[in-house]
Subunit: 256 residues, 2 copies
Amino acid sequence: MSKVEYTTDLLIFGIDSRENDNLRSLPSKYLSILLVRRNKEPFKGQWSLPGGYVLENEIALDASQRILTKETGLKDVYMQQVGIYDSIKRDPRGRTISSSYMALIDRTLLKQEISMDACWFDIELQENEDNINIKLTNGIEKINYVVKRECISKKGNDYDYRVVEHSDLAFDHEEIIIRGIMILRDKVWNTDIVFDLMPKEFTIGQLKQVYSLILGKELVNSAFRRVIASKVIETGKMVKTGGHRPSVLCSYKERD
Amino acid sequence: MSKVEYTTDLLIFGIDSRENDNLRSLPSKYLSILLVRRNKEPFKGQWSLPGGYVLENEIALDASQRILTKETGLKDVYMQQVGIYDSIKRDPRGRTISSSYMALIDRTLLKQEISMDACWFDIELQENEDNINIKLTNGIEKINYVVKRECISKKGNDYDYRVVEHSDLAFDHEEIIIRGIMILRDKVWNTDIVFDLMPKEFTIGQLKQVYSLILGKELVNSAFRRVIASKVIETGKMVKTGGHRPSVLCSYKERD
DNA sequence: CTAATAGTGTCTATTAGACAGTATGTT
DNA sequence: AACATACTGTCTAATAGACACTATTAG
């Protein structure tokens, strides 16, 4: 019978696209996440997930939408629950629990600038045997940490990710981020959620880039095209994306 | 910046097995859930999920384990998070949020009686077009309610279940139960979690009964045996389960 | 005997992976 | 010309569904 502070933390994912040295090839894609620099204690000056208190007459989902709009200007973005983080000492100010949500956004829709204190960080995962090396960078600053993958239940196929080498991300956000990425990976494999990250029109090649980026593995070209064909509509428009054959622009086909 | 009460609600699932009229056939299986009768306001006298306050120096998972032990005597049972329920008016006493967990137990392990106020209810789902009719019964009392399946996002394959005909279950537990059942169904399909519901030794026929019970569909016999063969070990022991050929007892084979 | 489940085998349809081969742009 | 991707087609391997067939028990 104890009262707790109720907050929400947001995993805002997007896709960054940047030219690389080879002008003939497609621009490289990166999975990116929006972080904000904390302007007050605790963890003042450190990077953290956007988040905040859930207000008295608000549910966490609404609070998350409010914060997303504040940081990006976007409204009515589809979100899904990632989980609850309630470890006892996670906030030095006192018992605080966080209900975290994941939002997938199409970065090409961002007309206005994102909020002053916010910045996109590219995510790179290096996976060995049991450890995963997470590298976040905004081009200038780097945030690196290492987590260990631990099997909680073989029957449940359930894994936990324990941070074994810390960075200076605030709170327990290292843990929230890696779990969020793994849930994203799982959802991308099992649903059509990837299209929330894509612009309205895209080429099959770009879509394949994003899939293999998030899944962390190369995909077989012909098999990918076969499977994805039922989920997209060809717009008929062509685009030139580099020193090679132009591609048909497609868009997502909503099912029935 | 508002403090809330922090509670947990538990979905304790098990399998009930009962003889039926046909003595030649296997005993019928039922998916069952443990409910407790509330002995105080609000909702005094009504059935509800077991649950309670998360203590000051406790996380919700530990609170759930504590409550599970209190109700069933079982310890160290594997649990997984179902979600957070935080709608504003869900508890008439004031703002209260609930982190809910699901525990799958093997009812044959229950040596001691379950707690006085608790009772197992069999679950029956009748699914039509968009509506699902949920029927819970403990043999004497019946709790019936109807939920509507609503698609939140086609891309995310995400569904919400809104109660359209209420029963007298306490709080928002009607909603928690149906979501839990759907998560269970999903997990049973994608993981080996079903073995948490089974006794240590079982026949392939019994296992198939439980699978089709939870998935809500008949399974093809030969295909089922083919797939399940890699997950179980034959113990060599035989059992007679009715007026038909005896069966080999199997147990779960942990992977690598 | 019959009903009911246990267990095996085989054919077919579907799907994923491997990979070759052609097309068409830019550098 | 060389390179990089776009796109198609074909072979093969793996897997799921359909279904027939045998085995063995209790009623």
